[in-house]
């Protein structure tokens, strides 16, 4: 029920009963004193100056996640390192991103300090259900809808020396990756992979720990990597890695058996994809709610890998196979280490 006081700040105004503005404004909504105590809707004036005319507010940068065109704009002025997170539904992509943001909210992390983010609002939206003031008893991360386009999160990190490193994480719904795995024509709808310097395949530790889900999931996970490799989606990618997520779940229940399976599966992955650049699997726990003794695992090493200085380019002459000149054949032997 709206009373006189909340309808108009002017004590003499009888708009609540007569419908007419004391100052003669028509419509009454144009009066600067009208409905001033009400909650202001999102798109309404933020501040009304003490003038008779309301001034249109000015839009400021959104602070929300970036989309492809925003990434292109940023990349034109700033050297960015794009890390594409690929995984099935609920593999932990968004949770990983939110946890990295949360680490910097507590202070420098992994030898790097926070130096800015174009997407702080986007981060905050992904982390709000992990805060005590959310009213929840159990932290979680909002689900990324399949209707949402690919989103990019920006994080500028400053090390002891050199300019800041601008990390950009891509995030999209796991269903989109699942669909593209089965119908590979859809891979062309994953443009973040062409922008990526590094692709992280997120291996869902919860599914791998489950004997029910493990058989199908372990096959489908490899199928995803094959699908992207065989369809040329990773041609621009400089590094590929596997992150086993939810390590706190792996440590629950029959932990020994689960760890044995995980070890074996990781070895299988490396053996199968070593020639395609996969040399190591890593384990992370970005939200240790099942077993807090596990703690936040692997996030610092991930940040260190992703922010490490890229290897210097080889400036020497490339060796020539079957070179006609003796000197070139000697150089080829020296560079390849072939003494035969």
């Amino acid at each position: 029920m709206t009373d006189q006081k909340t309808l108009c700040q002017n004590a003499e105004c009888q708009v609540a009963t007569t419908g007419k503005c004391h100052l003669g404004h028509d419509p009454v909504e144009r009066c600067p004193n009208y409905a001033r105590d009400d909650i202001v809707p999102d798109n309404a004036d933020v501040v009304a100056e003490p003038t008779t005319e309301r001034v249109a507010p000015v839009e400021i940068c959104s602070g929300d996640v970036m989309h492809l065109e925003d990434l292109a704009t940023l990349a034109r002025t700033t050297p960015v390192r794009v890390v594409a997170l690929v995984g099935d539904q609920r593999a932990g992509k968004t949770t990983l991103i939110a946890s990295i943001y949360a680490m910097y909210c507590k202070g420098p992390f992994a030898g790097m300090a926070f130096a800015g983010s174009r997407t702080l609002v986007g981060f905050a939206k992904r982390h709000h259900l992990a805060l005590l003031n959310s009213g929840r008893a159990d932290p979680t991360t909002p689900r990324t809808s399949r209707d949402e386009p690919v989103a990019f999160f920006h994080l500028a990190l400053s090390g002891a020396v050199g300019p800041p490193v601008h990390l950009v994480f891509s995030d999209r719904s796991g269903e989109a990756y699942g669909d593209a795995r089965i119908v590979t024509d859809l891979i062309q709808n994953l443009p973040e992979l062409l922008q990526a310097d590094r692709v992280c395949f997120l291996l869902d530790g919860a599914k791998l720990a489950s004997k029910d889900q493990r058989p199908a999931y372990s096959r489908q996970f490899k199928q995803m990597i094959h699908a992207l490799l065989d369809n040329g989606a990773l041609v621009n990618v400089k590094a590929v890695e596997v992150l086993s997520t939810k390590f706190d779940l792996t440590k629950r229940g029959d932990a020994e058996e689960q760890l044995r399976y995980l070890d074996a599966y990781e070895r299988t992955l490396i053996a199968e994809f070593n020639a395609r650049g996969l040399t190591e699997c890593y384990r992370v726990c970005a939200l240790p709610k099942a077993d807090q003794s596990v703690g936040f695992l692997g996030l610092d090493e991930a940040i260190k890998r992703w922010t490490a200085a890229p290897p210097r380019p080889e400036l020497g002459p490339e060796s020539i196979a079957d070179a006609p000149r003796q000197i070139d054949r000697m150089l080829a032997k020296a560079t390849t280490g072939d003494a035969a």
Binding site: V47, E49, V58, E59, C105, F114
Partner: protein
């Protein structure tokens, strides 16, 4: 652009208005020696007089209403160099900043203030609600209950901007100043940690690093600030209550001081006891002049 026009930036109850009231009493009363002294008494001082009266009487200084953008203009002089300057700043309401974060809209007047500013007085309060505690932090060490499995849609509780940790909101808005419509170049930032009497840390720098680490990292590492200094300020000198309520616990003690300016406490680099003009001197750059 007035080289001594500063943007006063701070959310609700961050101590902006109390600082202005105490500053006005300090320079106007000339009770203690200050780095910057009051210059000619020429101008409209109605707002300053109104808030300084509350301050003098030992009541909480009423915060700025959202509708108000109070222009504060004080003529000052620098005894060391003889330079005269006009200190101008706008006392914007805290709601202005909160609304800007939530709606991504701000009043055009704010854009003008930012563009005209030569430095920033950033207010945060040591008397703050802990808004960045995570659920895991709160229940650290307790045996985790079996999580209730969520359905595939997950928790659809909408994000409430007002519950975003304050330091995140501040950093976000400071970053926004670098982009349109502001396009502000890096400027000097004086961080004022108000209600310093409630802080447990020994220095304002360590308070900022401990209590608002994201903001501290941002100010030190991003290219947003040309220079940063952090000050701890207790502008009212203790705990007071609003006028009309029962007196605050420190009111009698503060009123007993012969020189009210001595209620003011400040810590930081190159500041003297009770002297709120120290941060302003540093922002003005006059501290480097003979």
């Amino acid at each position: 652009m007035n080289p001594n026009r500063y943007l006063v930036f701070g959310f609700q109850s961050s101590g902006k208005t109390t600082f202005a009231a105490a500053l006005w009493h300090l320079v106007d009363s000339r009770e203690v020696q200050t780095a910057l002294a009051k210059g000619k008494h020429v101008g409209d001082f109605r707002y300053l007089e109104e808030i300084a009266r509350s301050w003098c009487e030992g009541w909480q200084v009423e915060r700025t209403k959202m509708q108000q953008v109070e222009e504060i203009k004080i003529n000052l002089q620098h005894p060391g160099s003889g330079a005269e300057l006009v200190l101008e700043f706008a006392d914007l309401s805290g709601e202005t900043f909160e609304k800007a974060f939530a709606t991504r809209l701000c009043p055009p007047a704010f854009v003008d203030l930012v563009k005209d500013a030569s430095g920033l007085l950033l207010f945060v309060s040591a008397d703050r609600f802990l808004d960045d505690v995570t659920i895991l932090d709160a229940f650290a060490g307790e045996e985790a209950e079996q999580s209730v499995p969520e359905d595939d849609q997950g928790d659809k509780t909408p994000w409430d901007p007002a519950k975003t940790p304050l330091q995140v909101q501040i950093v976000d808005l400071l970053q926004a100043l670098r982009f349109a419509p502001f396009v502000k170049r890096p400027f000097k930032v004086a961080v004022i940690v108000s209600a310093w009497d409630l802080a447990e840390e020994t220095s304002a720098d360590s308070w900022l690093a401990m209590k608002m680490p994201l903001l501290e990292q941002y100010l030190r590492n991003a290219d947003a600030a040309a220079e940063v200094r952090v000050y701890g300020v207790s502008a009212q000198g203790g705990q007071l209550s609003k006028k009309g309520e029962a007196p605050g616990p420190d009111r009698d003690r503060l009123l007993a001081l012969d020189r009210p300016s001595e209620r003011i406490e400040i810590v930081g680099t190159d500041v003297r006891d009770h002297d709120l003009t120290g941060p302003l001197l540093w922002l003005s750059g006059l501290d480097k002049r003979a």
